[in-house]
Point group: C2
Chain length 454, copies 2
């Protein structure tokens, strides 16, 4: 009987366990989780803080009993793995409740240690009114602070999707929000021209934007906290949320001699196997790769954690399932706007050395007489092959549909000219007779042909 030990019981670890159990009824499967919560929806935390999600158990719907009952998987929470003895196939584990330290052996090990918020190295980041959003407890702390202190002003450091989701949720609670972003634009992952639409909208929603500046220090305790910027400007605030990115938790793996990839995450092959042949890694601690360029990437997301966890579950039992990489798809809403992207941005495509054409296509998501609302689609295609490389969309409704159609098309190697032929579903409440996806393909195709005819 194989003994599988998994470190981490959030998305990837529990996916791996569930899939491993489906493939092998006999194996012993154990998960150690440092945290108190398991299998929670990290992506739902901004909405839990904002009160759209009413109950904590909606974000943490499953407990250890559920996994025992449904999958015969033993999950032990508050157990921190201190060390991996890769050669001896043993873990040193600390029971954080009793402080007891014990050894646990394994036949196969799965590292699903996730990622942590990046903590900038500046004075004041450890103050009690400076928060990071990562696990449910970190969300509880923000919620508690808001409930107890009824704050009026917040500074959010970072304008990636978590920063912007938090912006919406805090503003909806009546809190005045200032965003501080190091880059000269919000959403640095997107092209500047698309970020401008988001910036304009945030200003309309009375969000204070401080771009091309950074936090030098945080001074004073609540209620007299000041954020000191590198520019010398100061912002009075009641609390600060730092959302400047997350980094993979690789220390355990690194100490065990497991290879770390160029992106800083744990290097894995397509079966999610690490450099040690009976140790797997999945989820936010593992390196990913682009199915478009083949390049290694680090884009930790819940959807990818689920995928890679499932692949580990297969691999543990000798399955042939392989990870096919990601496109780097993302989507989020901020108030009534929806922002989505997949594949390469213009700047990324140029950096990769592609000769490209681009288009900006403004079209309603459905028939105007049925309440259609315009979205802006930026498309990037390879000038030489015609291949679609990337899409960025800013819109209101129907953005999630278009990005997923583009994702699917790009995954299958679609050329710009393929899009206008798609037999997409048309009825006035859902789209236009020529869908925005099709127009995007037609415009890119025209750009390519124009360039060829020069």
């Amino acid at each position: 009987m194989m003994k599988i030990v998994i470190i981490g019981a959030v998305a990837a670890g529990t996916s791996a366990a569930a899939k491993a159990r489906r493939n092998d009824e006999e194996a012993q499967i154990i998960i150690f989780e440092k945290d108190v919560d398991i299998s929670y929806s990290g992506c739902g935390l901004p909405y839990y803080i904002g009160g759209i999600v009413k109950r904590r158990d909606e974000i943490v719907p499953r407990n250890t009993d559920y996994f025992k009952r449904k999958y015969n998987v033993d999950i032990f929470t508050r157990r921190e793995v201190l060390n991996i003895d890769a050669l001896g196939k043993k873990l040193t584990v600390k029971n954080l409740i009793t402080d007891e330290v014990f050894l646990e052996d394994f036949d196969k090990l799965v590292i699903a240690t996730g990622a942590s918020a990046v903590v900038p190295n500046i004075p004041g980041v450890d103050k009690s009114n400076v928060f990071y959003l990562r696990n449910v407890q970190s969300a509880d702390r923000i919620k508690d602070f808001i409930n107890k202190n009824n704050p009026k002003k917040a500074v959010i450091v970072g304008s990636g999707f978590i920063g912007l989701e938090m912006t919406e949720n805090l503003k909806e609670l009546g809190i005045d929000v200032t965003i501080v972003e190091l880059a000269p634009q919000v959403m640095p992952a997107m092209d500047k021209d698309m970020a401008l639409y988001i910036e304009k909208y945030l200003i309309e929603k009375d969000i204070n934007l401080v771009l091309a500046d950074s936090v030098a220090a945080i001074e004073g305790e609540f209620p007299s906290t000041k954020v000191i910027l590198s520019s010398g400007n100061k912002i009075e605030t009641d609390f600060v949320i730092v959302a400047v990115g997350i980094k993979p938790n690789i220390k355990l793996a690194q100490n065990a001699g497991i290879e770390i990839g160029e992106t800083g995450a744990i290097k894995v092959n397509k079966k999610m196997l690490t450099s040690t042949k009976y140790i797997y890694a999945c989820g936010d601690c593992a390196e990913s790769y682009s199915c478009l360029t083949g390049q290694n990437m680090y884009r930790p997301l819940g959807s990818t954690a689920n995928k890679t966890g499932r692949i580990v579950g297969e691999s543990l039992n000798g399955g042939s399932l392989e990870f096919r990489g990601i496109l780097g798809t993302g989507i989020f809403k901020v108030f009534d706007k929806v922002i989505a992207y997949t594949g390469l941005s213009e700047k990324e495509a140029l950096k990769e050395g592609y000769e490209i054409v681009i288009c900006h296509n403004i079209k309603p998501d459905k028939a105007m007489y049925y309440g259609g609302q315009e979205m802006i689609i930026k498309g990037v295609a390879d000038k030489n092959t015609g291949r679609l490389l990337g899409i960025q969309i800013v819109g209101t409704s129907g953005v999630d549909k278009r990005i997923d159609v583009f994702v699917t098309a790009i995954t299958f190697g679609a050329k710009a000219e393929d899009l206008s032929h798609l037999d997409l579903a048309y009825a006035p409440p859902f789209s236009t007779a020529k869908d925005p996806v099709m127009y995007t393909g037609m415009i890119l195709e025209n750009e390519i042909n124009r360039d060829k005819n020069k």
Copy 2:
């Protein structure tokens, strides 16, 4: 200078004209249209009758001036083409306003004569309170009847998407609706098991369903009209809408010796050329084909009319664009339910001789804590190749997204096993970490593997 004459100025004819003009600034382009309205949204007519679309010009946004100004295309309405002299390259045209008959020559001809409602051969179908929905004037007539007579009861004959869209729109006007359907299920294009969900829902919405029965006669004038069914049952009603299908308008082409396809529509090649080498056909009068099976099909829809019109526009100028066929995608809403389908149903796949696996997958469209609502996805895949063949969905929100992702995947030849690898956009307001599309792929894959292991 080439002289292009087009018969028909709705979706296909005007698309052909616009594209032809973009490719050739010199050509003379003329369109003859029998109707008074041009370039209207046929798919929007049920919502015009229901009052969701407030103004007639929202459905008919462009007039002949627009086409003259923007494309230098001359559109003559109320001009009926009586005859095509294919060899002599001449049309006989009647001016329906003056009754004058004249000849018009052409270099290239485009037949975009559309389709007509099927009129059953039963007594009473010509009564003034029996309606068909096809062009804007037919919608005007229904609207006028309702406004003048304030009817309380309607019988809709046929339960395809037009019948069901009319059901919603009449019911929302406070009219009691009875649907009479010849088949033993609603939406005969779909599988019975999926139609059952729709039937259950229609009954919940207080729609009277009469299945496996047909209209034998319509007796009496308003307000004492009775629909006599083949079963002998009688339904008292204020008016009747007949929506039992549409048939291509092929008479002109047929009389000119142009070949008609096996489906009864005008036979065309991939450049939309008919059997006569300078005469093209596009839109609802032309035959289509399945990009899945290669078989000829007749599925007249506005989206396809736009596509085939555009291809004609290219072909007229010697372009290489070819029609790639359709999947037979459809979508419509009835009250709060959305129904969509693409590719082959189970019954169609079996008829085509495929060995198949199927699945029924019930999943929420987004995170439950963000208001997710379940949809039922029926998937059909080829047991031997794993290829995805068809999808049917009944749900509430997010159905249009999933069907379009499936359309794109099927178009590119996706296998069931490909779906779980898609890097679809995930955030709680839009989807679940494993999207319903991915689950569908996984379940079909399991079915295929189970069958293999038998």
